[in-house]
């Protein structure tokens, strides 16, 4: 048996946990916790589908944002080469230019999207 006076023995109780666990205060606590967890679980459930589409969309966007300028550059260069032949290969120059533009575009976009968790 400890020699503590009784008020010290039950002084170890945590605040907010006195009395019956279904007191009003604790009830609202329980309700709040359940509500927040429910919201979180629902959100997670929606995110599951959302993430797949989001990922596919991102993949597609990055791919296209590089591919389209490159193709446009190459086609435009070939057209210029066929119309006004010169010492320089316009198709090569515009192809590289298109790829560069696309990469820059993709990088900028990723940077913008990547700021979500910061």
């Amino acid at each position: 048996m400890s020699e503590l006076p009784p008020e010290q023995e039950n002084g170890s109780e945590m605040p907010g946990k006195q009395g019956h666990p279904l007191h009003l205060h604790n009830r609202s606590q329980i309700e709040k916790r359940i509500a927040s967890q429910e919201a979180r679980k629902l959100k997670a459930r929606e995110e599951k589908h959302h993430t797949i589409w989001f990922g596919l969309g991102m993949f597609g966007l990055i791919g296209w944002s590089v591919a389209i300028p490159a193709v446009i550059g190459a086609l435009g260069g070939m057209w210029i080469d066929s119309r006004w032949p010169s010492r320089y290969s316009w198709s090569l120059m515009l192809l590289i230019g298109g790829i560069t533009l696309g990469c820059f575009n993709a990088w900028k976009w990723l940077h913008k999207e990547g700021n979500v968790d910061r």
Binding site: Q29, I30, R33, I34, A35, Q37, E38, L42
Partner: protein, 131 residues
């Protein structure tokens, strides 16, 4: 694995499950049939279990103790409500607490009436301090 959820007044859930997810002081954990025996105090929140048909069920619980002994998982709690679905669980909890409140109010007013009645009787009997 068999899950039993024990309330002071009833056994809320007693069925075979394939997975139990609950939250303790140090975070959420998941129990599977062949996990080691386990004992934990649960926080108020949502207890999820998956039945043999692979359906998820949700229980709102107000804290409690969970024990796993072999293939038997027991949860003892003072308050639990089984939600049909995630979206409606909160409303059910609110509704139940409302009902509890209502009951408490009724009890309180009944006790107050009894007390007043007894006092009235004493007064009618003419009980005075010299007795």
């Amino acid at each position: 694995m068999n899950l039993k959820v024990l309330l002071p007044t009833e056994i809320l859930v007693d069925q075979s499950v394939s997975k139990v997810i609950a939250e303790a002081e140090n975070g959420s954990f998941c129990l599977l049939p062949r996990h080691v025996d386990f004992l934990s105090a649960l926080l108020p929140g949502i207890l999820t279990f998956v039945d043999d048909q692979n359906l998820e069920h949700y229980l709102g619980i107000g804290g409690g103790i969970l024990t796993k002994t072999g293939s038997e998982v027991r949860v003892s709690t003072i308050y639990a409500v089984q939600g049909e679905d995630l979206g409606t669980l909160r409303q059910q909890v609110t509704a139940q607490f409302e009902a509890i409140n209502e009951r408490e109010r009724t009890v309180r007013s009944a006790i107050a009436r009894l007390e007043a009645d007894i006092l009235r009787h004493f007064v009618k009997q003419g009980i005075t301090a010299d007795v």
